[in-house]
Amino acid sequence: MKNFRGETLSWWQTADGVIELVLDRAPCNEIASATLGELEEFTAALPGLHKTSHALIISSARSEGFCAGADLRELYHRSQALPAADRLAAVRDFLVRIHRVANTIDAAPLTTIAAVHGVTFGGGFELALLCDLIVADKTARFCFPELRLGLIPGFGGIPRLKRDVGNAVVRDLLLTGRSFNVTKAQGAGLVSQVVAEGDALQVARATAAQTAKFDRDTMVAAKKFIKPIPYEELRQEIDIFCELFTRPAVDEGLRKFVESTDALPYLP
């Protein structure tokens, strides 16, 4: 299969060997079980595309931003619908599945580029961190708000952020839950190129075209050498997330967030 159009995302392979994956779920690509299922289909198809591709670009069709992270409403409601004893197993299963997807994209023998704009929060930030390069337009904002709800990022955020930037930056993002604008994110070393509003995808495509000029085996060797996947820390992250998830404070924080009708949803 060389293209796919799903409920939450689409992907296709261009004639010049670039795979474009576009997130498109209202309002801002919140990652729900449907997204996970379609990402799993994508990663299952990926090995079949390696030979005829050299790059992967991930972008968003939503004007609000790249991705606002996990669908907390679905997470909360699904969790509440289960007997208390089964909730943890369901969350762990979701995390294990999304880590499998993330690790496949992270290790793909392609040059991977996230073309981001607007809200790039939580799971959306983690999706961008899978990529080798982040091209961001001036509207982009990066944030890990999870601690504000009594959790840690669960899709591999901390180990991958630690891989890319200094520990002080990780602590700033994590422990304050504040968002970085694109200037701050580039200064921290997260963003490869800052471009004008609306130009991230176009610049990502030009960057992908440049990478096509290089010897493929050399690129794969360089990437493997410079971008190791922190498997052990990723496993630890799942354990810590699950340990925190069972606390009543998290349940209460999620409930307040989900039930909030304020323009600014509940976040302490």
Binding site: P27, C28, G177, S179, P265
Partner: protein, 80 residues
């Protein structure tokens, strides 16, 4: 250093321009969520414009509970 009034006026101008509403429909004490009809994602967009325009960093948590232009201008003023 601009005065609070200058900063408030600049925020009103920026908001009107960005959300394409007539400047005269916005007042310093207005609730910007209601007056501009914006949600939390659009409020973040406004924060980005403000940070770029004033060349400051304004952590999101400083805006918790802030909904009127004058208080927003005060938060900006403290970072200038």
């Amino acid at each position: 250093m601009p005065t609070l009034q200058d900063t408030t006026e600049e925020v009103l101008r920026l908001a009107a321009e960005h959300f394409k509403v007539p400047r005269e429909t916005l007042g310093a004490n207005d609730d910007f969520f209601k007056q501009l009809g914006i949600n939390s994602l659009q409020a973040l967009d406004l924060l980005t414009r403000i940070e770029q325009h004033f060349r400051i960093e304004l952590p999101d948590y400083e805006l918790q509970g802030v909904s009127d232009f004058r208080t927003l201008a005060e938060r900006i003023q403290s970072r200038l």
